[in-house]
């Protein structure tokens, strides 16, 4: 009898599950029906303003006010809400961002965040973000809830609560490397461009000798980029765990990712080789003499203007540099008709690339928000509604952008960024299903690189891991301090002897408690993955 009952139950469950999957699948195509059905009984009688917080400088010109007016009309109609953007300007953005979340005064509702470049997890653990239950998401953000797969919700979950919504359906690559002038590399004899550090050294030497007098610097660095772990990842298939410390110190080799190490303690030879190379670069004069105090520099803008020859950032940034029309500041293409920009990504020599985390961009609801339900409704609309999406991402059709016959987005001739440009920094809810590719992008170059990436891409191995830092945060603070101190010296060749400075750095890391952190990470990684 018991067995029979169990069988009946099992059959019923199987039928139940398939019944769900037979129902029409929710997607952006039928979003309007889903909202009409799911939101029918939601009380939206009170008109509310949803304050959306993002990092970035508030635009002082452009069409943002008009765009928001049009958008708010739609949002009012569909959710009786409107959106207002709260900007956290780039100066000291992380401190101000965290401070705003900590103030808990109800002045923000929707928060753009990230687990690798903004403190999503620390803020969640400190009580800044509202826990989002599945019922809540299914009710108020039904389209997003249905289109984000369960395994992606799982990586946004900590101690049983979902803390944010991942921007998991948007193609981009944010692996780091060097953007360089491909035309100059060819002049230097590198016909295929730069593909490893030796090529790059040939390149910087050539640029310094040939163009040194006309440029501000080969790389007008402000001394805050530390490519050391990038160098090591050119030779070893290794991936860091994001969001542990200010640098990429802890991680694992891809063939055994759950054995955790501190890469700077394990790869002494590579670190010494890197230090020697940077000493050579310092002697070549790649950066200004006082690079460590060169705080006023804006190398990216200078690169766009053709005033420097090297920029250190990720692929997504490079796509904007290689496309002449992608940015009005890309004036190098006007002054130099041969100008072309190549990208050497750090993991290229080792033949792999790690996919982005799905939590590279996430949206959270402030724990102090007075209207969390409506916040989720607005998010669902912005992410999945054609009209809202276009307005919020591209602006006003016919003014900010237009669509050509091939379906590409372009800026009309009448466009002026002062008059018609918009900016919302919406990096937490973009959606490939609604993206309109831009005609301004150099798709030939970009797709060539993307194809290469797709061929060698590996998954980020620590997606399901959320670190509980309680026991070791004081060590991590020490390590951060040590790391930054020595990285500045090592990455800019500011030392006498490479072996000596690396040994000193490693001793300082150990003294700061690096081994304790490694042990704690290993313990928690084991608990997560070795069940």
């Amino acid at each position: 009898m018991k067995k029979f009952l169990a069988l009946v139950l099992a059959v019923a469950m199987v039928l139940g599950i398939s019944a769900v999957s037979f129902a029409e699948e929710i997607s952006v195509a039928n979003a309007a029906d889903v909202w009409a059905k799911t939101w029918a009984d939601v009380d939206t009688s009170e008109h509310v303003v949803i304050n959306y917080m993002t990092t970035g400088d508030a635009p002082t010109t452009g069409a943002n006010p008009e765009m928001l007016e049009m958008l708010n009309k739609i949002l009012t109609e569909k959710a009786n809400a409107e959106i207002n953007i709260v900007w956290i300007s780039w100066t000291d953005y992380l401190a101000n961002y965290n401070l705003r979340i900590a103030s808990m005064d109800g002045s923000i509702d929707l928060i753009g965040s990230s687990t690798d470049w903004l403190d999503a997890w620390p803020n969640a653990k400190r009580g800044g973000f509202l826990e989002l239950s599945e019922e809540m998401l299914a009710k108020y953000a039904p389209v997003t809830f249905a289109t984000v797969p369960a395994e992606h919700w799982a990586v946004c979950t900590y101690e049983g609560n979902i803390y944010f919504i991942p921007e998991d359906h948007y193609s981009q690559w944010t692996n780091h490397g060097w953007a360089y002038r491909l035309d100059w590399a060819k002049e230097a004899g590198l016909q295929d461009g730069v593909h490893n550090w030796d090529d790059l050294t040939v390149y910087v030497k050539y640029v310094k000798e040939t163009y040194g007098k006309d440029l501000l610097a080969v790389w007008d660095s402000d001394g805050t980029a530390y490519p050391a772990s990038g160098y090591i990842s050119s030779f070893r298939k290794w991936r860091s765990i994001d969001g542990i410390a200010s640098g990429a110190l802890w991680g694992g080799y891809l063939d055994d990712p759950y054995t955790i190490n501190n890469i700077f303690l394990d790869e002494t030879d590579l670190l010494v080789a890197y230090a020697k190379l940077m000493k050579e670069w310092d002697e070549i004069g790649v950066w200004p003499t006082d690079v460590l105090s060169n705080t006023g520099a804006d190398n990216r803008v200078e690169f766009r203007q053709g005033k420097v020859g090297l920029e250190q950032h990720h692929t997504q940034t490079w796509t904007g540099l290689v496309s002449p029309k992608a940015d009005t500041q890309n004036t190098m293409y006007l002054t130099d008709e041969d100008a072309d920009v190549g990208f050497f990504y750090w993991t290229e020599p080792a033949g792999y690339v790690c996919r982005d985390l799905v939590t590279h961009g996430v949206a959270a609801v402030s724990a102090a928000s007075k209207n969390p339900e409506r916040t989720l409704m607005v998010y669902d609309l912005l992410r999945n509604d054609r009209d809202c999406y276009d307005l919020f991402n591209y602006g006003i059709k016919g003014r900010s952008y237009d669509i050509n016959e091939e379906g590409y987005r372009f800026t009309p001739d009448s466009f002026s960024s002062d008059k018609d440009g918009i900016s919302t920094n919406w990096w937490w809810g973009r959606n490939d299903d609604l993206e309109i590719p831009s005609a301004a992008m150099n798709w030939d170059a970009i797709n060539a690189l993307y194809d290469k990436y797709e061929a060698e891409a590996v998954m980020y191995p620590y997606e399901a891991f959320v670190f509980d830092n309680t026991n070791v945060q004081s060590y991590i603070n020490q390590v951060n301090e040590t790391y930054t101190r020595y990285m500045k010296l090592i990455c800019y060749g500011q030392f006498e002897d490479a072996e000596e400075i690396v040994a000193e750095f490693q001793a300082a890391l150990r003294a700061a408690g690096s081994d304790e952190v490694t042990a704690e990470l290993q313990r928690q990684i084991d608990a997560t993955y070795k069940n």
Binding site: G223, T289, S293, G296, N477, T484, R485
Partner: protein
């Protein structure tokens, strides 16, 4: 007036209420200062508790989990606590002593200037740097001293000398920092002394002149002794903050450059560098509390010494 100051009439007992009522005008005049200190110094005192908890935004300071001295660990563990504290104190000692010395000298010099016009102009010029933001001061110093385009090195290389790589050598920086500090603060500091000098009874000075005192003797025997209470009180006040470093000055001059900061590191700089990526109120408060406690002990100690030597000048 005498009625207010000495309200007790013969045969009447002075109660607190009566005293309060009789001093109402004076108290009213004090009110802004009293409100200020209650609002900004006494009311936030319970907040010190945040240094002992694992602060959670939603649970609040008193709802968060108590963790004892854990927040103090990271400074203590650094092995740098002594070096940082002594650096901070030594820098502040240099600031306090030189500030007052230079300010007194400048105030006396200003007093001796006969042309009123010239005195006003020089006072204004000295006062100006006080109003410049530390960020700009940092940029000014950088454009003066940097290797590639700095003013100093341009001059040096023009004259055929080797450029000074000041941003690649930490040794001169204690000196540079003290000089910049003096340049910025002397004008402001000298005002207090200048006012004190102006307050000295002119008859005493005139009498000494008639008795044949020369300029130096006038300064040595009349002006300086008259300034003594002011000097002592200002020194006492300054000592309370001796463990608190001038973060704005150090950060903007030295910033993130490790070649420089390893020579001039102070508590604030270390804490900022170590916790800027952590955003932890609790550790920051723990360090603040540590600094306040040392400052408190120092003020008590110095006040005790002053009380022994010059009972009239002690604060309490």
């Amino acid at each position: 007036m005498s009625k207010v100051i000495n309200p007790a009439l013969p045969g009447r007992k002075t109660t607190f209420g009566r005293k309060f009522w009789n001093s109402r005008v004076l108290l009213l005049m004090c009110l802004p200062a009293i409100v200020y200190f209650i609002a900004f110094s006494y009311a936030p005192l319970p907040g010190i508790y945040v240094a002992f908890v694992n602060y959670n935004y939603r649970l609040g300071i008193f709802g968060s989990q108590f963790v004892g001295l854990k927040n103090f660990e990271f400074v203590a563990n650094s092995g740098k606590l002594w070096m940082l504290t002594s650096n901070t104190i030594l820098f502040n000692l240099a600031f306090i002593l030189l500030d007052n010395l230079v300010a007194v000298v400048v105030a006396i010099l200003l007093k001796e200037i006969q042309s009123k016009m010239f005195r006003k102009v020089s006072q204004t010029m000295m006062f100006l740097p006080y109003f410049i933001s530390q960020v700009l001061v940092g940029l000014l110093v950088y454009s003066l001293l940097n290797s590639d385009t700095g003013f100093l090195n341009s001059v040096l290389t023009q004259m055929g000398a080797a450029p000074l790589r000041l941003y690649k050598n930490g040794d001169p920086w204690p000196f540079i920092i003290v000089m910049v500090h003096l340049w910025q603060k002397t004008g402001y500091n000298s005002v207090v002394y200048f006012a004190a000098i102006m307050g000295i009874d002119q008859e005493v000075i005139e009498a000494s002149m008639i008795d044949g005192a020369n300029g130096w003797q006038k300064i040595r025997y009349i002006i300086l002794p008259s300034l003594r209470p002011t000097i002592v009180i200002l020194l006492l006040f300054a000592l309370g903050g001796i463990v608190k470093g001038d973060f704005g000055l150090f950060w903007n001059l030295v910033g993130r450059n490790p070649i420089l900061y390893q020579k001039v590191d102070i508590i604030e700089m270390f804490v900022y560098r170590a916790t800027v990526s952590d955003f932890n109120f609790s550790t920051a408060s723990a360090v603040g509390l540590y600094q306040s406690l040392i400052g408190f002990v120092l003020v008590l100690a110095v006040n005790g010494v002053v009380k022994k030597l010059e009972p009239d000048y002690s604060l309490f």
